[in-house]
């Protein structure tokens, strides 16, 4: 069974930013959600695992592959959809996938053609296969992206912020695709969108400021906040007063007024109603406690 084991991974950028701080993770087959705000170090971790960036210290093993020292072996087992997935101008979807398939070592032309067709069909782009990818919509491009990531039977699939900018329909299709492949291999889904993780992942971790601040099952995380999250719709002018008085996890606008979530062991009264915690609450709770 596939197993990815990351130990004490560290990375500091030349400008002093600590992108990875003692990152230790262990994951196996299935969808793994990596949640964190922008700049948390998710992409640094993804890129390090995708052999695109050197780590300063630490180890990472995919089964018996020493990921940091044998990048070529990792690359043979890897499917990667980076956060920024662009395409060449004047190249069709088929040409692009064929190119990647060749680079991933599928030497047999007939197999390559079959695979490219199969994947294009799977991502529902078969009819557009001979069109220039540059002209595709964001969602179509992402589907090309996931198709290329699936090439070559990868054992480890890394997708970095895949649903940013997709409309809900495209996002659903994308999730279905991921869920399908996630049954057999390790899929790491890095995102700052909480719903992605809730819908797809059996395991998750939350990253902030280069550290893993939470690791576990989404259900466990939710359970830990059960009965502690309270909600109230308030006036905008009162926001700072509430912030001073309560442990505000989040506020968002609902029907034109701020609706705040607070964390409280007991009923705070004051017009707050109890709500079932969602992953967003978990996310903000962990991040805020980290900052504090």
């Amino acid at each position: 069974m596939a197993l990815l084991k990351i130990t004490e991974l560290n990375k500091t950028y030349p400008n002093g930013t600590r992108a990875l701080v003692d990152v230790t993770l262990e994951l196996s087959k299935g969808m793994f959600g990596l949640l964190g705000p922008n700049g948390a170090g998710k992409s640094s971790l993804m890129r390090t695992l995708a052999t695109l960036q050197e780590a300063d210290s630490g180890t990472a093993f995919l089964d018996d592959i020493d990921m940091l020292n044998d990048p070529q072996a990792v690359r043979k087992a890897l499917g990667y959809l980076p956060q920024e997935f662009g395409v060449y101008p004047r190249i069709t979807a088929t040409q692009l996938l064929d190119h990647v398939a060749t680079l991933k070592g599928i030497n047999n032309r007939r197999e390559r053609n079959e695979l490219v067709n199969y994947l294009l069909q799977k991502v529902n782009l078969y009819e557009q296969r001979n069109k220039s990818v540059k002209g595709f919509s964001g969602g179509m491009k992402q589907r090309v992206g996931i198709a290329q990531a699936l090439i070559g039977n990868p054992r480890l699939i890394i997708v970095d912020e895949p649903t940013a900018g997709l409309d809900p329909g495209e996002r659903n299709r994308f999730h279905n695709l991921l869920a399908e492949v996630g049954e057999e291999v390790i899929v790491i889904l890095s995102t700052h969108i909480v719903d992605d993780v809730r819908e797809l992942c059996t395991n998750m971790a939350i990253m902030n400021l280069g550290r893993i601040v939470y690791q576990g099952k989404p259900s466990d995380a939710l359970a830990s906040l059960d009965g502690k999250v309270w909600r109230k719709t308030i006036e905008r002018s009162d926001k700072s007063a509430y912030q001073a008085k309560y442990n505000v996890i989040s506020d968002k606008m609902v029907a034109g007024k701020p609706q705040i979530h607070i964390l409280s062991e007991s009923d705070p009264g004051d017009g707050f109603t109890s709500v079932a915690p969602n992953l967003e609450d978990v996310f903000f709770t962990t991040i805020h406690s980290e900052v504090a």
């Binding site: 020292n69 101008p89 695979l115």
Partner: protein, 1190 residues
Amino acid sequence: MFNIFFKKEMLTALRRPMIYIFMFIVALLVFGAVVSDNVVIGGVVGDVKKNAPTVVAIYVSILSIFGLLFATAFFNNAALRDHRNNFHEILFSTPLSKSGYFFGRFMGAWLLAAMVLLGIYLAFIIGAALGPAFNWIGPERVGPTPWLAFTNTFLLFALPNMFFAGSIIFLLATKFKSTVISFVGTLLIILGYIISLNLTSDIDNQPLAAMVDIFGIQAYSIDIQYYTPAERNTIAPSFSGYLLKNRLLWMGIGLIILFISYFTFSFSAKASKRKKKVNKPKEETTNFSAPLLSSLNGTISSWDTFRSFFRMSFLSISKSTTFIILMFFSILLLISNLWGGFEYFGLKSYPVTYKMIDEVNDISSLFVMIILVFFSGELIWRDRDNHIHEVVDSTPHQSIIALIAKTSSLVLLASLLHLLLIGIAVLYQAFNGYTTFELGVYFTDFITDGLPSYLIWGSFFVFLQVLINQKYLAYFISILTLIILDIIFLVFKIETNMLSIGSTPSTTYSDMNGFGPGFTGHLWFTTYWAFFGILTLLLAALFWPRGMNKKIKDRFAISRKALGKSYYGTLGFFSLTWIALAAFVYYNTQVLNAYDTSYEQELQQVDYEKKYKQYEDSPTLSITDAIYYIDIYPEERAADGKIDLWLTNKTTSIIDSLHFTITEDYKHQLDIPNSNLVYEDKALNYYIYKTQVPILPGDSLQMSCTVSYKAKGFENEVSNMSIVNNGTFFNNFEILPTFGYSSSFELGDKNKRRKYDLPERKRMPDLQKECSQLCMNNYLSSGTSDWVNVETYISTSEDQIAIAPGSLLDESVENGRRQYRYKVDHPSQNFYSFISADYEVARRQWNGIDLEVYYHAEHEVNVEGMLNAIQRSLEYFTTHFGPYYHKQARIIEFPRYSSFAQAFPGTMPYSESLGFIVDLEGEGKNNVVDAVIAHEMAHQYWAHQVIGAEMKGSTMLSESFAEYSSLMVMKQETDEIQMKDFLKYDLQRYLRGRSRETEQEQALMHVENQGHIHYGKGSVILYALQDYIGEDKVNQALRNFLEEYRYQPPPYPTAHDFMRHLQPQIPDSLQYLITDWFEEITLYDLRLEEATMTEQGSQYEVKLEIIAKKLKSTPEGASTEVPIKDWVDIGFYRDADEKELITRQRVYLNKEQIELSFLLDERPQKAAIDPLRLLIDRVYDDNVKPVKQE
């Protein structure tokens, strides 16, 4: 509103380093040119000051072309900044004034672009101050700071050029919003300029060329083309002449373009194109299932990876607009060059393969370099620019394969472009009915020159892109290595081809001798550089920034992990092979064939002069008889010779020491009986022998000398182009030691002489009226011989013919060697050629003289015409000058390593590039073949029967007379208008030559071996003279002069001796011509202000208003007006094309402004003063006017 945007544009740019970097680059280039003679922009030499107004103008105008690249950046930024920052949608929705925004931005960019060129003026000021202070240049090379030229050139060149270019770039940028298209636009402007340059190849097109040149450079050069150094040093460019017209034209066009872009400019964001939806019937979809991927778990196929990368790169370049436009324009440029190029005296040569190759290589070397620089960056940055690098980099391919594939696609596309150009050249040949297609030659040239150089530079640029890892910085460094590297080597006096990337010994393709003696070395150097290129590419893989790593250490670390053992094996193999090649090349070019750099040679020249000048006037022996034994081994490029010389002491002194200077190209061994070598300077090759018995006046001595040459290995540059596989040609001066000190080895350049503390050098002694000892030497043999009896035994391989001057006495073949014996029929100049090649021979007999043309088999087209020309020359010369003393007159073709014809006794070698391939089929064209052959034939009289003393004026007696004789032969066959058409090239040669005079201009009678005077001016003056006093009078003078001196022992005649014969032939009224034309430098400024006509019954009365000035010029070129009292022709043309004269009358002009009236029987279309252009008038356009009817 305008102010806001204008200021913002300026301030933003002024706070950034870009403008200062640009300014610095420009200033550096100019500074280099001001303080050093090694850096030259636009070719200014001689007496022109380093900071002369004209020099400033030339630098500003030429650098404004380079400035365009900088300007593009400013204009493009100004037009696109808001778009780039995606700010335009916000900005354009505010209530802006369109004109304020548009013109504010434009003016800001315009001023910035022009400001870059201020660096030039700064460099002139600093350079003029520092140059003399640090003794880099002499104080006399610097004039006062030309402030007027500074302001005028800024107004006339910097601002208008930037304005015009800016208007186009701004238009393109606002329309297409693409930096690439903006740069392509810039390129098009530069190309437009290059195409307009081709138009000036013939002087008839000058007015047109002056106008079509976008930058005003041509207009200005035409305005100043006949300026003397004195004028160049004082006259600043002004708002007049062609320059002003040109500037107004292009500013106007720029203004129109600017307004077009203003009116079509719109704030609303460019509407994205909507594509029509086409309802295609849905195709039947089969359901694909995931394949098993049996091939996956093996190793990654390098070949497949290569192919895939190659295909992607190839598609990306070949489909790119930039590439397509570059390709399109290189084709256009080639076609324009082919149709407009290689003219000579208005005649075109046949499109022989080597000319085609030269044209193709000129174009491809420019365009392919642009493509290599630009696309090396594009390919290396393509994945990153398109944000697909993370995907690509995380696949298990090998970086080195990707790099090789990308570079290969680049090299292949460059090659395809080259081959396309070759295809066009071949089509051009076919189109012109030239059907000797030598595809093998094209191909060999491409394979051994074009292809490897693309490989070398392509790899190297890729290496720079990878190593530097910043696209634009790498572009900059790439261009810098192309330009600056050679300048650095020049400054540090490094000449080896081993350091200058891609350099090889030069090769010149000749129809006779193929790729020539440099080819072996060229191949070795090419291999050496090709391995260097591959090596840089391999090294690039080590630093390839795979993934997201920026630090070089990380890049290195991550690359290394992915490079297998085979990589290091390959790297090792190529490194070792390259080192071995380097060693081999080094051994051949630096050890086996060690050479002196030109700097070392310069030092030797200085030493030689300083040490041995003292012996210059020592008496020497004179050769009376010589026998040459020459064996040529063409296939080995070797020659052996032995020369037996009989010498006599013709001086009045006793001679006991013999001095020799030996040339280094040949190995020498002197054998002088009864004498000892007493002094030996091997470094400077100076030797002194002491005779055991002093040689008294009149006594003789016999000595012999053996020489040998044999090519070994290959050289950095071929030092001996005389001895080759087919077409060996050398003369006796090359193989004989020089007797005594030779002033011809002295350093000539007067600025260099000053640098080495050498006294000013005279090119020739002054002309003397009462001739002294100087008249005992002629200028050709300098006292080492007079008229000599010569015999030659010459041998060569069996398949070649060997030729020496004289009648052929014996010919035999022995042991595969062909042997000949030649003997000259009359004692002659000791000036001998030795030639061997595989020839066809055409012969004709004329009055007992063998006329022969020895030619390369493919070059037979003009041979018959050459025989005719020899015959016509002999007919004219024997009738008008006197007998011909040889029994043969031979024309012999030699390879185009030199492009001259030369006269030896009865024997005239003639370069293959000169007359053999000229297309004479055009009716009524100037017959250059006739001209050159008649010139060399005339030398059989002028130089070989009579030769001048070693002093000023003597080359008039040979070169000007030969020109005159040849003109007279031509004149037999043509009319006076045709002659004028031919002579204008001679006049131009003279006028251009005097404007580039490095020392002093001399009057014709005092000419000191200056080609533009003894050929150019000599032709014009003597032709005019025969028109003024009559052909028979001039011929009579020449004949009398010849009869007095023909084959006479010293003293030799001087120019005065000829004038003595000429004077009686000139009528009193024209005696002034001697002073004006021969003794002084005289120019005319003749103008026809107006020509009006009234009909008088059946006749036409024409009134002319004339301005006629006469000018005298000093040797420095300063001219002053003198009163005119001259006879000048007035002519009337029947047609507007100036092809037929109704009448030509000579009138006496004695004041500057004059009105004349003529009565004609026929209606004239045009009137002209000096219609045949006999007088030296710098501007001829104003001599002719259409006749207006009143």
